[in-house]
Symmetry: none
Subunit: 219 residues, 4 copies
DNA sequence: AATGAATGAGGGTTCATTCAT
DNA sequence: CATGAATGAACCCTCATTCAT
C-alpha cells in the first residue's frame, strides 16, 4: 500500500516501453508469490503495479504472454548469474563448483518471490508444453557444467563415486532446499541451505571440501 | 427409464458414499496431472469421473474442499507407506534409512499423477495457509525419523558429519529428484533416482552403504 | 417490460432444450431490430429473453453461433413459406408468380424485426464469408423458380421481354420495398408494397395481370 | 528527428484541416467495406489511413461523429451526382429519367465500398434515429423528382399505370440491384443492373424506351 | 498538428454453485 | 442419490477516449 502511494506520487505517468515491461514483470512476480499462479489475474498484477488493467494487454498482448515473459525473465536472470559466477571463480574445479552452488543461494536468486515463480511454472509444466522448453529442471548448460566439474573433482580425488549421479544429486538437493526455503524461511534459511550442501560436499569429496559445523548440533 | 439407463452401462447409479468420494478424488488427481491445478475445474473432474457436474458439490460441498481432501489423500497415503515400511525394515538403522528412502520412489508414490499433485499444492502454499499445515515439506514425523536415523548412523560410523544437515540434504534431494521425474521421465527414472540417492549415501557413509555403479559411467 | 414480468410469473425455470433455443433466437431477433447488430450484445439478448447472461453460452457456445443460428432461422422460415405457397398455388404460372411474390409481403415474413435481421446480415456479408453462404441475396432455388415462372409467362404472352432480366428486376424490387418498409412503415405499408409490385407486373405482362389502382392517385 | 521521419516518407506531417478530414472519411469507407460496421474501430480506420489513433478524436471529436460525417459524405456525393445529371439531361422526360437511373450505376457511386456504407447505415437506422434523417431511403428530393418524371411519362404515353407506384417500384428495384452488386459482383454487374432496369422501363413504357437484349438470352 | 502511452467501461466467456426434477 | 439447466460473479480482452509529449 505504501509502495503504491509512493509510485503514484513519484513517477511519471508515461514511461519508456522497456521500463514499463519490466515493471509489469516484477509486479507479476510479486503477484504469483502472493496469490499463487492460479489466483494471479490481470487485475492482481495491475494492482500490484499501481496501474490500470488495460496496460497489460497494451504491453504484452495477452496474459499468457506476460506469464511467459515473466518466466523467461527469471530463467534468464538465473542463467546470467551462474555464468558470471563461473567466470569469476578461478581455475580450481573445487572453487568453480562452490561458485555454481553459491549462486543458487544468492539473495537475489532465491528470494521467495522468485522461488514461487519457479515452482509455479514447474507445477504447470506437464499441461503446458511451452513452459517445459523454457525451464525443464534448470537448463542443459547448467547440468552439463555441473557434471563436468564433478567429473573433474572425482578424478582428482580418486573418489569411488559416479560423477553423473553426484551431479544429479547435488542439483536435486539444491532444488529441494529451494522448496524448503519457499515453504517457510524458518525451516530453512539461506545460510542453513548452503551449509547443508557444503556439508554433503565435504562428506563426498573430503579432500576438496572441509567439514561444516551446524549451529544446531555444535556443542 | 432411469433404471434403463443405469442398467445399460452396467454400473449402479448410486454408490456407497465413501466409494464415490475416493472415485472423485482419484479423478481430481488425474485432472491436476493432466490439466494443471489452475485448469482443473469442476467440469474436468466430473468428466474424468464420468459423472455429472453437480455431484461434486453434493459430496464435497465446494471445490475448495475437494482439493483439500485430495491433498490430504495423497499426504496420508504417503505417510502410511513410510510408516509401514519402517516397521518392516528390521532393526538396523542402515536398513531403516534405506527403507525410508525407497518409499519415496515406490511406483505408487512417485507416479507422475501423484507428483503433480504434490507440486501443484506446494506451489500454491504461500498463498493458502491451509495447504501448509497439510504438507509443509513433508511432515514433522518424517523429518524427525530421518534425523534420528542419520544421527544413529553418524555415531555408529564416527563420520565427521552433522546429522541434521545430512538429513535435510537427503530429504531435499529426494524432492529434487521428484521434480526431475515429474518434468520428464526420460531425464530421470525411478531406478536412476534411487541410484542417485544411494550413491550419495555410499559417499557419505562408506561403512554402511556400498558404492553404486551407474549404467551411464559403467565401463 | 410487461413481457418480462409475464415471463417471470408464468414460466417454468427450466425448459426443454429446443424451446429455450428458439426463445433465445427470438430474443436475438428482437434485439437486432431494436438495437442494431453492432449494439446487440449478449446482455441485450439475455435481457430481452428475461434470462441470465450465462444461458447464451450454455445453449449456443458462443455469441457468433447464436447469430448464425438466428440468421439460419429466418432464412429457413422464409424458404419454407415460399415452397409451401408454391405448392398451394395451382397450375397457372400467373398464380404461381403471384404466390411467390405475396410471400415476400406476408406479415410474418416482412415484419420489421425480421427485415432488420436480413439487412443486418446482408450488410456484414462482405466481411463475414460465413454469412454469405447462408443468405446471398436470397437463395438459388428462389432465383431459379422466379426465372422459370417469368420465362413461362413471357412465352405464353409473347412479350418482347427478357425473362432473366425481369426475374432479377422483380426480385430486386421486392428487396428494395423491404428496405422501404424497414426504414419506416409510413413510407411503405405491406399493402402499398404489394400494389407496387403488381402494378409493375400489370405493366409488363398486361395479358396476365390486371392494372392496379393506388389510393394515392385514385380519383 | 521528427523532421527526419516526415521527410523520409515524402509526406508533410501536417495537412490542411479539410484534407485530413476527407482522408479519414475515405479510410472509414474502406474500413466499413472491408471489416463491416461493427468491426470498424478507430484503430482500423487509423491503420487504413496510415495515421495514429489519436488523430480521429482530434479531427472529429468522437467516433460517432466520424461515422456520421462519413455517411453524410456518401449521401451528399450521391445527391450531387444526380442533380448534376439531371441538369445535363436535356428537356425530354425520358432522357431525364434515364439519367437519373444511370447515376445509380455510375462506377463512382455504386462501387462496393460505397454500397457497403449505404447498407451498413441502413441496417442500423432503426436503432439510430440520427441516421434516418440523413438517409431514409434515399431522400425526398430524389423521390419527388422520380415521381414527377414518371407522372409526365405516364401522361405522355397514356399508359394505364399509376405513376406513384411505378416511381416507388423503380427506386426499390435500383436498391435491390445495389444489394445484388454488393453481395457479389459476379451475380450482378453494373451493365447487367442497368439492363435490368431499362428492360423494365421498356416493358412499362414501350413508347419511350426500346427493348433490351440480354446476353444471356440473346440467340 | 500529431503521436501513442494510458485509462477504464463494457464486451464475450468461463465456471463454481444452486436447485428443480 | 444423481442430474444438468440456470445463474451471476469474475475472468481476459477490446476499444473509444484522454493527455503528456
Amino acid at each position: 500500500m505504501t509502495m503504491q502511494l509512493a509510485d503514484r506520487a513519484g513517477k511519471k505517468r508515461t514511461l519508456p516501453k522497456e521500463k514499463r515491461r519490466t515493471q509489469l514483470i516484477e509486479a507479476t512476480i510479486r503477484s504469483i508469490a502472493k496469490n499463487g499462479l492460479s489466483d494471479t489475474t490481470i487485475a492482481t498484477v495491475a494492482r500490484e503495479a499501481g496501474l490500470s488493467q488495460g496496460i497489460i494487454n497494451l504491453h504484452f498482448t495477452s496474459k499468457e504472454r506476460l506469464l511467459l515473459e515473466t518466466l523467461t525473465f527469471v530463467v534468464d536472470e538465473y542463467k546470467l548469474h551462474w555464468e558470471k559466477a563461473l567466470k569469476r571463480a578461478g581455475d580450481e574445479s573445487r572453487d568453480q563448483l562452490a561458485a555454481l552452488i553459491e549462486v543458487d543461494f544468492l539473495p537475489s536468486i532465491c528470494e521467495r518471490n522468485k522461488l514461487a515463480v519457479w515452482f509455479a511454472f514447474w507445477s504447470e509444466t506437464k499441461s503446458r508444453p511451452t513452459y517445459r522448453q523454457l525451464c525443464s529442471g534448470r537448463d542443459r548448460d547448467y547440468d552439463q557444467t555441473m557434471h563436468e566439474l564433478c567429473a573433474k573433482i572425482v578424478s582428482e580425488g580418486q573418489y569411488p563415486l559416479d560423477a553423473a549421479l553426484v551431479a544429479d544429486g547435488l542439483s536435486a538437493m539444491a532444488i529441494g532446499l529451494w522448496l524448503d526455503m519457499l515453504l517457510g524461511p524458518r525451516r530453512m534459511s539461506r545460510q542453513q541451505a548452503l551449509k547443508t550442501v557444503f556439508s554433503h560436499l565435504a562428506g563426498l569429496f573430503p579432500d576438496h571440501f572441509e567439514p561444516v559445523q551446524s549451529e544446531r548440533s555444535a556443542v
